[in-house]
Symmetry: C2
Subunit: 259 residues, 2 copies
Protein backbone atom coordinates (compact mmCIF):
# COMPACT_ATOMS: atom_id res chain seq x y z
CA UNK A 1 0.00 0.00 0.00
CA UNK A 2 1.00 3.57 -0.58
CA UNK A 3 0.08 6.89 0.93
CA UNK A 4 -1.73 9.65 -0.91
CA UNK A 5 -1.79 13.34 -0.11
CA UNK A 6 -3.81 15.99 -1.90
CA UNK A 7 -4.67 19.62 -1.35
CA UNK A 8 -7.29 21.95 -2.80
CA UNK A 9 -7.35 25.60 -1.70
CA UNK A 10 -8.84 28.93 -2.71
CA UNK A 11 -5.51 30.75 -2.25
CA UNK A 12 -2.01 29.55 -3.12
CA UNK A 13 -1.05 27.65 0.02
CA UNK A 14 2.18 26.17 1.28
CA UNK A 15 1.77 22.39 1.72
CA UNK A 16 5.09 21.96 3.59
CA UNK A 17 3.46 21.17 6.93
CA UNK A 18 1.40 18.26 5.60
CA UNK A 19 4.21 17.15 3.30
CA UNK A 20 6.63 17.03 6.28
CA UNK A 21 4.24 14.59 7.98
CA UNK A 22 3.82 12.46 4.88
CA UNK A 23 7.57 12.27 4.23
CA UNK A 24 8.11 10.66 7.64
CA UNK A 25 6.01 7.74 6.44
CA UNK A 26 8.44 7.18 3.57
CA UNK A 27 10.81 4.94 5.49
CA UNK A 28 10.50 6.76 8.84
CA UNK A 29 7.24 6.01 10.67
CA UNK A 30 5.89 4.03 7.67
CA UNK A 31 7.12 1.25 5.38
CA UNK A 32 6.80 3.20 2.12
CA UNK A 33 10.43 3.15 1.05
CA UNK A 34 9.98 2.81 -2.71
CA UNK A 35 9.96 6.39 -3.85
CA UNK A 36 7.75 9.42 -3.69
CA UNK A 37 6.53 12.20 -5.89
CA UNK A 38 4.64 15.46 -5.69
CA UNK A 39 2.96 17.66 -8.28
CA UNK A 40 2.06 21.32 -7.56
CA UNK A 41 -0.03 23.32 -9.98
CA UNK A 42 1.02 26.89 -10.58
CA UNK A 43 -1.75 28.25 -12.79
CA UNK A 44 -2.25 25.58 -15.47
CA UNK A 45 1.33 24.40 -15.19
CA UNK A 46 2.45 21.44 -13.14
CA UNK A 47 5.68 21.52 -11.16
CA UNK A 48 6.56 17.95 -10.33
CA UNK A 49 9.31 16.29 -8.31
CA UNK A 50 9.87 12.54 -8.33
CA UNK A 51 12.37 10.41 -6.53
CA UNK A 52 12.66 6.62 -6.48
CA UNK A 53 14.61 6.94 -3.18
CA UNK A 54 12.86 6.81 0.24
CA UNK A 55 11.43 10.23 1.04
CA UNK A 56 12.72 10.31 4.59
CA UNK A 57 16.30 10.85 3.42
CA UNK A 58 15.81 12.37 -0.04
CA UNK A 59 17.64 15.65 -0.79
CA UNK A 60 14.88 16.52 -3.27
CA UNK A 61 12.22 16.03 -0.57
CA UNK A 62 14.27 18.32 1.66
CA UNK A 63 14.32 20.97 -1.07
CA UNK A 64 10.54 20.69 -1.45
CA UNK A 65 10.12 21.11 2.33
CA UNK A 66 12.47 24.08 2.54
CA UNK A 67 11.50 25.92 -0.63
CA UNK A 68 7.93 27.00 -0.02
CA UNK A 69 6.09 26.44 -3.25
CA UNK A 70 2.55 27.79 -2.91
CA UNK A 71 -0.19 26.14 -4.88
CA UNK A 72 -3.98 25.79 -5.00
CA UNK A 73 -3.89 22.14 -6.09
CA UNK A 74 -1.36 19.49 -5.06
CA UNK A 75 -1.12 15.72 -5.49
CA UNK A 76 1.54 13.67 -3.70
CA UNK A 77 2.28 9.99 -3.25
CA UNK A 78 4.74 7.81 -1.40
CA UNK A 79 5.14 4.31 -2.63
CA UNK A 80 5.47 0.80 -1.32
CA UNK A 81 5.92 -1.14 -4.53
CA UNK A 82 3.78 -4.11 -5.42
CA UNK A 83 3.51 -4.06 -9.24
CA UNK A 84 6.45 -2.67 -11.23
CA UNK A 85 10.11 -2.15 -10.36
CA UNK A 86 11.34 0.68 -8.16
CA UNK A 87 12.51 3.26 -10.68
CA UNK A 88 11.69 6.75 -11.85
CA UNK A 89 9.22 5.77 -14.55
CA UNK A 90 7.13 3.88 -12.00
CA UNK A 91 7.06 6.78 -9.53
CA UNK A 92 3.70 8.60 -9.03
CA UNK A 93 2.16 11.05 -9.70
CA UNK A 94 1.78 10.40 -13.44
CA UNK A 95 0.72 13.10 -15.86
CA UNK A 96 -0.61 13.51 -19.39
CA UNK A 97 -2.02 16.41 -21.39
CA UNK A 98 -5.73 16.49 -22.34
CA UNK A 99 -7.60 19.54 -23.79
CA UNK A 100 -4.54 21.74 -23.14
CA UNK A 101 -4.46 20.83 -19.43
CA UNK A 102 -1.89 18.72 -17.65
CA UNK A 103 -3.78 15.98 -15.83
CA UNK A 104 -2.10 14.40 -12.81
CA UNK A 105 -2.92 11.12 -11.12
CA UNK A 106 -1.81 9.13 -8.09
CA UNK A 107 -3.15 5.77 -6.94
CA UNK A 108 -3.04 3.68 -3.81
CA UNK A 109 -3.97 0.01 -4.00
CA UNK A 110 -3.48 -2.94 -6.29
CA UNK A 111 -5.55 -3.99 -9.29
CA UNK A 112 -6.13 -7.40 -10.82
CA UNK A 113 -3.97 -8.40 -13.81
CA UNK A 114 -7.05 -8.37 -16.04
CA UNK A 115 -6.68 -4.56 -15.95
CA UNK A 116 -4.00 -4.98 -18.63
CA UNK A 117 -6.62 -6.45 -20.99
CA UNK A 118 -8.51 -3.15 -21.08
CA UNK A 119 -7.98 -1.44 -24.42
CA UNK A 120 -6.08 1.84 -24.29
CA UNK A 121 -6.99 4.89 -26.37
CA UNK A 122 -4.56 7.74 -27.03
CA UNK A 123 -2.38 7.27 -23.93
CA UNK A 124 0.27 4.59 -23.38
CA UNK A 125 2.13 3.88 -20.14
CA UNK A 126 5.86 4.68 -19.99
CA UNK A 127 6.48 2.42 -16.98
CA UNK A 128 5.08 -0.93 -15.88
CA UNK A 129 2.75 -0.21 -12.95
CA UNK A 130 -0.94 -1.09 -12.80
CA UNK A 131 -1.50 2.50 -11.62
CA UNK A 132 -0.12 4.20 -14.72
CA UNK A 133 -1.99 1.74 -16.93
CA UNK A 134 -5.24 2.54 -15.08
CA UNK A 135 -4.55 6.27 -15.52
CA UNK A 136 -3.92 5.88 -19.27
CA UNK A 137 -7.12 3.85 -19.63
CA UNK A 138 -9.17 6.34 -17.59
CA UNK A 139 -7.88 9.40 -19.46
CA UNK A 140 -8.43 7.60 -22.78
CA UNK A 141 -12.05 6.93 -21.77
CA UNK A 142 -12.53 10.61 -20.97
CA UNK A 143 -10.99 11.68 -24.26
CA UNK A 144 -13.03 9.16 -26.22
CA UNK A 145 -16.28 10.32 -24.63
CA UNK A 146 -15.37 14.01 -24.80
CA UNK A 147 -13.01 14.90 -27.66
CA UNK A 148 -13.73 18.48 -26.51
CA UNK A 149 -14.32 19.49 -22.87
CA UNK A 150 -18.01 18.90 -21.92
CA UNK A 151 -20.18 21.95 -21.33
CA UNK A 152 -20.62 21.15 -17.66
CA UNK A 153 -18.26 19.42 -15.29
CA UNK A 154 -20.95 17.23 -13.76
CA UNK A 155 -21.01 15.05 -16.92
CA UNK A 156 -17.26 14.72 -16.65
CA UNK A 157 -17.33 13.79 -12.96
CA UNK A 158 -20.07 11.20 -13.61
CA UNK A 159 -17.93 9.59 -16.30
CA UNK A 160 -14.83 9.54 -14.08
CA UNK A 161 -16.89 7.98 -11.31
CA UNK A 162 -18.30 5.37 -13.73
CA UNK A 163 -14.74 4.46 -14.79
CA UNK A 164 -13.51 4.51 -11.18
CA UNK A 165 -16.22 2.00 -10.24
CA UNK A 166 -14.95 -0.32 -12.97
CA UNK A 167 -11.41 -0.05 -11.62
CA UNK A 168 -12.61 -0.65 -8.06
CA UNK A 169 -14.16 -3.90 -9.32
CA UNK A 170 -10.56 -5.00 -10.09
CA UNK A 171 -9.18 -4.46 -6.58
CA UNK A 172 -8.26 -1.50 -4.41
CA UNK A 173 -8.56 1.84 -6.15
CA UNK A 174 -8.00 4.89 -3.96
CA UNK A 175 -7.00 7.76 -6.23
CA UNK A 176 -6.47 11.47 -6.68
CA UNK A 177 -6.80 13.12 -10.09
CA UNK A 178 -6.52 16.77 -11.10
CA UNK A 179 -6.46 18.98 -14.18
CA UNK A 180 -5.28 22.01 -12.10
CA UNK A 181 -8.84 23.34 -11.51
CA UNK A 182 -10.41 20.51 -9.55
CA UNK A 183 -9.19 17.65 -7.41
CA UNK A 184 -11.11 14.42 -7.91
CA UNK A 185 -10.89 11.88 -5.04
CA UNK A 186 -12.18 8.32 -5.18
CA UNK A 187 -12.07 5.86 -2.29
CA UNK A 188 -12.10 2.07 -2.08
CA UNK A 189 -10.57 1.45 1.33
CA UNK A 190 -8.96 4.51 2.92
CA UNK A 191 -9.09 8.21 2.20
CA UNK A 192 -9.74 11.02 4.67
CA UNK A 193 -10.12 14.75 4.32
CA UNK A 194 -10.13 17.85 6.43
CA UNK A 195 -11.21 21.37 5.51
CA UNK A 196 -9.52 24.20 7.37
CA UNK A 197 -11.31 27.57 7.42
CA UNK A 198 -11.83 30.45 9.86
CA UNK A 199 -11.64 30.36 12.82
CA UNK A 200 -8.22 28.72 12.33
CA UNK A 201 -6.45 26.95 15.17
CA UNK A 202 -3.37 24.92 15.90
CA UNK A 203 -2.59 21.53 14.33
CA UNK A 204 -0.23 18.84 15.61
CA UNK A 205 1.32 16.32 13.19
CA UNK A 206 0.90 12.65 14.08
CA UNK A 207 4.15 11.42 12.58
CA UNK A 208 6.58 14.10 13.56
CA UNK A 209 6.99 16.46 16.46
CA UNK A 210 5.74 19.53 14.62
CA UNK A 211 2.79 21.79 15.22
CA UNK A 212 1.62 24.87 13.41
CA UNK A 213 -0.71 27.67 14.42
CA UNK A 214 -2.67 28.48 11.27
CA UNK A 215 -3.92 31.75 12.82
CA UNK A 216 -0.57 33.30 11.93
CA UNK A 217 -0.51 31.84 8.42
CA UNK A 218 -3.96 32.53 7.03
CA UNK A 219 -6.56 35.15 6.10
CA UNK A 220 -10.21 34.87 7.23
CA UNK A 221 -11.45 33.88 3.76
CA UNK A 222 -8.96 31.07 3.19
CA UNK A 223 -10.36 27.60 2.62
CA UNK A 224 -7.88 24.74 2.45
CA UNK A 225 -8.82 21.08 2.15
CA UNK A 226 -6.23 18.36 2.72
CA UNK A 227 -6.88 14.78 1.60
CA UNK A 228 -4.76 11.90 2.92
CA UNK A 229 -4.80 8.13 3.20
CA UNK A 230 -4.64 8.44 6.99
CA UNK A 231 -5.29 11.62 8.99
CA UNK A 232 -2.05 13.59 9.26
CA UNK A 233 -2.93 15.49 12.44
CA UNK A 234 -4.15 14.37 15.88
CA UNK A 235 -6.43 17.16 16.96
CA UNK A 236 -8.58 18.01 13.94
CA UNK A 237 -11.92 16.57 12.73
CA UNK A 238 -10.90 14.49 9.70
CA UNK A 239 -13.76 12.95 7.70
CA UNK A 240 -13.55 9.50 6.19
CA UNK A 241 -14.52 9.08 2.53
CA UNK A 242 -16.66 5.96 2.08
CA UNK A 243 -15.92 2.98 -0.10
CA UNK A 244 -17.22 3.73 -3.60
CA UNK A 245 -17.56 7.44 -2.83
CA UNK A 246 -16.28 10.16 -5.13
CA UNK A 247 -15.70 13.72 -3.94
CA UNK A 248 -14.44 16.55 -6.09
CA UNK A 249 -12.93 19.70 -4.58
CA UNK A 250 -12.42 23.05 -6.26
CA UNK A 251 -10.87 25.98 -4.41
CA UNK A 252 -11.06 23.96 -1.19
CA UNK A 253 -14.84 23.37 -1.34
CA UNK A 254 -16.77 20.24 -2.29
CA UNK A 255 -18.19 20.76 -5.79
CA UNK A 256 -19.39 17.19 -6.43
CA UNK A 257 -20.05 14.27 -4.12
CA UNK A 258 -21.55 10.90 -4.96
CA UNK A 259 -21.78 7.78 -2.81
CA UNK B 1 16.79 34.52 -28.10
CA UNK B 2 17.31 31.68 -25.71
CA UNK B 3 20.09 29.23 -25.04
CA UNK B 4 19.86 25.51 -25.60
CA UNK B 5 21.95 22.76 -24.04
CA UNK B 6 21.76 19.07 -24.85
CA UNK B 7 23.78 15.98 -24.04
CA UNK B 8 23.93 12.50 -25.49
CA UNK B 9 26.25 9.93 -23.91
CA UNK B 10 26.89 6.18 -23.91
CA UNK B 11 27.18 6.07 -20.11
CA UNK B 12 25.14 7.96 -17.51
CA UNK B 13 27.06 11.23 -17.26
CA UNK B 14 26.91 14.17 -14.90
CA UNK B 15 26.05 17.33 -16.86
CA UNK B 16 26.76 19.69 -13.92
CA UNK B 17 29.89 21.16 -15.51
CA UNK B 18 28.11 22.27 -18.70
CA UNK B 19 24.99 23.24 -16.78
CA UNK B 20 27.05 25.48 -14.46
CA UNK B 21 28.27 27.37 -17.53
CA UNK B 22 24.81 27.66 -19.04
CA UNK B 23 23.26 28.89 -15.77
CA UNK B 24 25.62 31.87 -15.76
CA UNK B 25 24.00 33.01 -18.98
CA UNK B 26 20.61 33.12 -17.20
CA UNK B 27 20.99 36.66 -15.91
CA UNK B 28 24.74 36.49 -15.19
CA UNK B 29 26.89 36.71 -18.35
CA UNK B 30 23.78 36.58 -20.59
CA UNK B 31 20.42 38.35 -20.82
CA UNK B 32 18.26 35.22 -20.48
CA UNK B 33 16.44 36.12 -17.30
CA UNK B 34 13.03 34.64 -18.09
CA UNK B 35 13.29 31.19 -16.64
CA UNK B 36 15.07 27.96 -17.33
CA UNK B 37 14.37 24.26 -17.38
CA UNK B 38 16.17 20.96 -17.68
CA UNK B 39 15.03 17.43 -18.42
CA UNK B 40 17.19 14.37 -17.64
CA UNK B 41 16.23 10.93 -18.82
CA UNK B 42 16.75 8.08 -16.39
CA UNK B 43 15.89 5.03 -18.44
CA UNK B 44 12.63 5.90 -20.21
CA UNK B 45 11.61 8.31 -17.45
CA UNK B 46 12.13 12.02 -17.58
CA UNK B 47 13.19 13.96 -14.51
CA UNK B 48 12.43 17.62 -15.19
CA UNK B 49 13.01 20.85 -13.28
CA UNK B 50 11.49 24.15 -14.38
CA UNK B 51 11.77 27.60 -12.92
CA UNK B 52 10.37 30.87 -14.26
CA UNK B 53 13.01 32.70 -12.16
CA UNK B 54 16.45 33.64 -13.58
CA UNK B 55 18.74 30.64 -13.35
CA UNK B 56 21.71 32.54 -11.93
CA UNK B 57 19.99 32.89 -8.54
CA UNK B 58 17.54 29.98 -8.56
CA UNK B 59 17.61 27.59 -5.58
CA UNK B 60 16.33 24.82 -7.83
CA UNK B 61 19.22 25.43 -10.26
CA UNK B 62 21.58 25.21 -7.31
CA UNK B 63 20.06 21.87 -6.30
CA UNK B 64 20.49 20.58 -9.85
CA UNK B 65 24.16 21.68 -9.82
CA UNK B 66 24.87 20.15 -6.41
CA UNK B 67 22.88 16.95 -6.71
CA UNK B 68 24.69 15.00 -9.42
CA UNK B 69 22.00 13.41 -11.53
CA UNK B 70 23.62 11.16 -14.13
CA UNK B 71 21.90 10.70 -17.43
CA UNK B 72 22.55 9.58 -21.01
CA UNK B 73 20.23 12.16 -22.55
CA UNK B 74 19.62 15.71 -21.34
CA UNK B 75 17.80 18.74 -22.77
CA UNK B 76 18.04 22.15 -21.13
CA UNK B 77 16.94 25.68 -21.99
CA UNK B 78 17.24 29.16 -20.59
CA UNK B 79 14.76 31.68 -21.80
CA UNK B 80 14.61 35.27 -22.92
CA UNK B 81 10.89 35.66 -23.54
CA UNK B 82 9.52 36.97 -26.80
CA UNK B 83 6.17 35.20 -27.26
CA UNK B 84 4.19 34.26 -24.13
CA UNK B 85 4.32 35.53 -20.55
CA UNK B 86 7.03 34.58 -18.10
CA UNK B 87 5.41 31.80 -16.10
CA UNK B 88 5.80 28.11 -15.43
CA UNK B 89 3.58 26.87 -18.25
CA UNK B 90 5.71 28.76 -20.78
CA UNK B 91 9.00 27.40 -19.45
CA UNK B 92 10.87 24.88 -21.64
CA UNK B 93 11.52 22.01 -22.06
CA UNK B 94 8.02 20.82 -22.92
CA UNK B 95 7.06 17.16 -22.87
CA UNK B 96 4.33 14.83 -24.12
CA UNK B 97 3.90 11.06 -24.28
CA UNK B 98 3.95 9.26 -27.63
CA UNK B 99 4.19 5.44 -28.11
CA UNK B 100 4.84 5.01 -24.38
CA UNK B 101 7.86 7.35 -24.47
CA UNK B 102 8.09 10.79 -22.93
CA UNK B 103 9.18 13.17 -25.70
CA UNK B 104 10.93 16.36 -24.67
CA UNK B 105 11.47 19.50 -26.71
CA UNK B 106 13.22 22.85 -26.35
CA UNK B 107 13.35 25.63 -28.93
CA UNK B 108 15.40 28.73 -29.52
CA UNK B 109 14.12 31.38 -31.93
CA UNK B 110 10.87 33.01 -32.89
CA UNK B 111 8.28 31.84 -35.41
CA UNK B 112 5.80 33.81 -37.48
CA UNK B 113 2.24 34.14 -36.15
CA UNK B 114 0.95 32.06 -39.06
CA UNK B 115 2.32 29.08 -37.09
CA UNK B 116 -0.87 29.25 -35.02
CA UNK B 117 -2.92 28.50 -38.16
CA UNK B 118 -1.36 25.05 -38.45
CA UNK B 119 -3.87 22.40 -37.46
CA UNK B 120 -3.02 20.43 -34.34
CA UNK B 121 -3.58 16.69 -33.98
CA UNK B 122 -3.73 14.93 -30.61
CA UNK B 123 -1.61 17.42 -28.65
CA UNK B 124 -2.69 20.85 -27.38
CA UNK B 125 -0.48 23.50 -25.81
CA UNK B 126 -0.92 24.22 -22.08
CA UNK B 127 0.83 27.62 -22.30
CA UNK B 128 0.93 30.34 -24.93
CA UNK B 129 4.39 30.15 -26.53
CA UNK B 130 5.07 29.64 -30.22
CA UNK B 131 7.56 26.96 -29.12
CA UNK B 132 5.06 24.70 -27.35
CA UNK B 133 2.61 25.15 -30.23
CA UNK B 134 5.33 24.08 -32.69
CA UNK B 135 6.12 21.06 -30.51
CA UNK B 136 2.45 20.01 -30.35
CA UNK B 137 2.15 20.38 -34.11
CA UNK B 138 5.37 18.43 -34.77
CA UNK B 139 4.49 15.57 -32.42
CA UNK B 140 0.98 15.45 -33.90
CA UNK B 141 2.48 15.13 -37.38
CA UNK B 142 4.65 12.25 -36.20
CA UNK B 143 1.70 10.52 -34.56
CA UNK B 144 -0.51 11.03 -37.60
CA UNK B 145 2.13 9.57 -39.94
CA UNK B 146 3.09 6.77 -37.56
CA UNK B 147 0.28 5.65 -35.23
CA UNK B 148 2.77 2.94 -34.28
CA UNK B 149 6.57 3.44 -34.15
CA UNK B 150 8.07 3.00 -37.66
CA UNK B 151 10.19 -0.07 -38.28
CA UNK B 152 13.33 2.00 -38.79
CA UNK B 153 14.30 5.29 -37.25
CA UNK B 154 15.52 6.77 -40.52
CA UNK B 155 11.90 7.22 -41.70
CA UNK B 156 11.13 8.96 -38.44
CA UNK B 157 14.15 11.28 -38.69
CA UNK B 158 13.27 12.15 -42.30
CA UNK B 159 9.76 13.13 -41.22
CA UNK B 160 11.01 15.23 -38.29
CA UNK B 161 13.44 16.97 -40.65
CA UNK B 162 10.64 17.59 -43.19
CA UNK B 163 8.52 19.18 -40.43
CA UNK B 164 11.50 21.12 -39.08
CA UNK B 165 12.08 22.62 -42.53
CA UNK B 166 8.48 23.84 -42.54
CA UNK B 167 8.96 25.47 -39.14
CA UNK B 168 12.25 27.05 -40.26
CA UNK B 169 10.29 28.64 -43.13
CA UNK B 170 8.36 30.54 -40.41
CA UNK B 171 11.39 32.08 -38.70
CA UNK B 172 14.20 30.88 -36.49
CA UNK B 173 13.93 27.26 -35.43
CA UNK B 174 16.86 25.87 -33.49
CA UNK B 175 15.63 22.89 -31.52
CA UNK B 176 16.43 19.82 -29.48
CA UNK B 177 14.04 16.87 -29.28
CA UNK B 178 14.38 13.53 -27.54
CA UNK B 179 12.38 10.40 -26.75
CA UNK B 180 15.09 9.20 -24.27
CA UNK B 181 16.92 7.04 -26.83
CA UNK B 182 18.03 9.66 -29.35
CA UNK B 183 18.65 13.40 -29.32
CA UNK B 184 17.47 15.17 -32.47
CA UNK B 185 19.11 18.57 -33.19
CA UNK B 186 17.98 21.00 -35.87
CA UNK B 187 19.67 24.30 -36.63
CA UNK B 188 18.50 27.52 -38.27
CA UNK B 189 21.01 30.04 -36.95
CA UNK B 190 23.16 28.77 -34.09
CA UNK B 191 23.88 25.35 -32.67
CA UNK B 192 27.27 23.85 -31.89
CA UNK B 193 28.40 20.48 -30.66
CA UNK B 194 31.43 18.80 -29.22
CA UNK B 195 32.13 15.10 -28.75
CA UNK B 196 34.44 14.15 -25.91
CA UNK B 197 36.11 10.74 -26.06
CA UNK B 198 39.47 9.19 -25.15
CA UNK B 199 42.07 10.61 -24.80
CA UNK B 200 40.24 12.98 -22.47
CA UNK B 201 41.75 16.30 -21.44
CA UNK B 202 40.95 19.42 -19.48
CA UNK B 203 38.12 21.84 -20.33
CA UNK B 204 37.75 25.46 -19.26
CA UNK B 205 34.30 27.08 -19.12
CA UNK B 206 33.88 30.36 -21.00
CA UNK B 207 31.30 31.91 -18.69
CA UNK B 208 32.58 30.98 -15.29
CA UNK B 209 35.95 30.40 -13.72
CA UNK B 210 35.69 26.64 -13.64
CA UNK B 211 37.74 23.95 -15.31
CA UNK B 212 37.50 20.20 -15.16
CA UNK B 213 39.97 17.46 -16.01
CA UNK B 214 37.89 14.75 -17.64
CA UNK B 215 40.76 12.24 -17.26
CA UNK B 216 39.73 11.77 -13.64
CA UNK B 217 36.01 11.52 -14.45
CA UNK B 218 35.83 9.10 -17.35
CA UNK B 219 36.53 5.61 -18.64
CA UNK B 220 38.32 4.99 -21.96
CA UNK B 221 35.14 3.88 -23.74
CA UNK B 222 33.01 6.88 -22.73
CA UNK B 223 31.59 9.00 -25.53
CA UNK B 224 29.82 12.20 -24.51
CA UNK B 225 28.43 14.77 -26.94
CA UNK B 226 27.36 18.20 -25.72
CA UNK B 227 25.21 20.45 -27.92
CA UNK B 228 24.86 24.17 -27.13
CA UNK B 229 23.74 27.41 -28.77
CA UNK B 230 27.24 28.83 -28.24
CA UNK B 231 30.34 26.80 -27.35
CA UNK B 232 30.55 26.45 -23.58
CA UNK B 233 34.30 25.91 -23.36
CA UNK B 234 37.28 27.85 -24.72
CA UNK B 235 39.80 25.18 -25.48
CA UNK B 236 37.92 22.41 -27.28
CA UNK B 237 37.08 21.90 -30.98
CA UNK B 238 33.34 22.68 -31.14
CA UNK B 239 31.66 22.06 -34.51
CA UNK B 240 29.01 24.36 -35.89
CA UNK B 241 25.77 22.79 -37.17
CA UNK B 242 24.74 24.41 -40.46
CA UNK B 243 21.51 26.22 -41.19
CA UNK B 244 18.93 23.64 -42.25
CA UNK B 245 21.05 20.78 -40.95
CA UNK B 246 19.66 18.01 -38.78
CA UNK B 247 21.89 15.76 -36.66
CA UNK B 248 20.68 12.96 -34.45
CA UNK B 249 22.83 11.54 -31.67
CA UNK B 250 22.39 8.25 -29.87
CA UNK B 251 24.74 7.17 -27.10
CA UNK B 252 26.97 10.14 -27.95
CA UNK B 253 27.51 9.19 -31.61
CA UNK B 254 25.97 10.68 -34.74
CA UNK B 255 23.33 8.24 -36.02
CA UNK B 256 21.74 10.50 -38.68
CA UNK B 257 22.95 13.66 -40.36
CA UNK B 258 21.31 15.55 -43.19
CA UNK B 259 22.18 18.99 -44.62
Amino acid sequence: MCELLGMSANVPTDICFSFAGLMQRGGGTGPHRDGWGIGFYEGKALRAFHDPEPSVNSPIAELVCQYPIKSCTVISHIRQANVGQVNLENTHPFSRELWGFTWTFAHNGQLDKSLFEKELHFYQPVGTTDSEYAFCWLLGQIRKAFPQPPANNRELFELIRYCSDQLRALGVFNMLLSNSEFLYCYCTTKLNYLTRRAPFGEAQLRDFDLSIDFRGETNPNDVVTVIATEPLTDNEPWLQIESGEAIVFAQGEVCYQQR
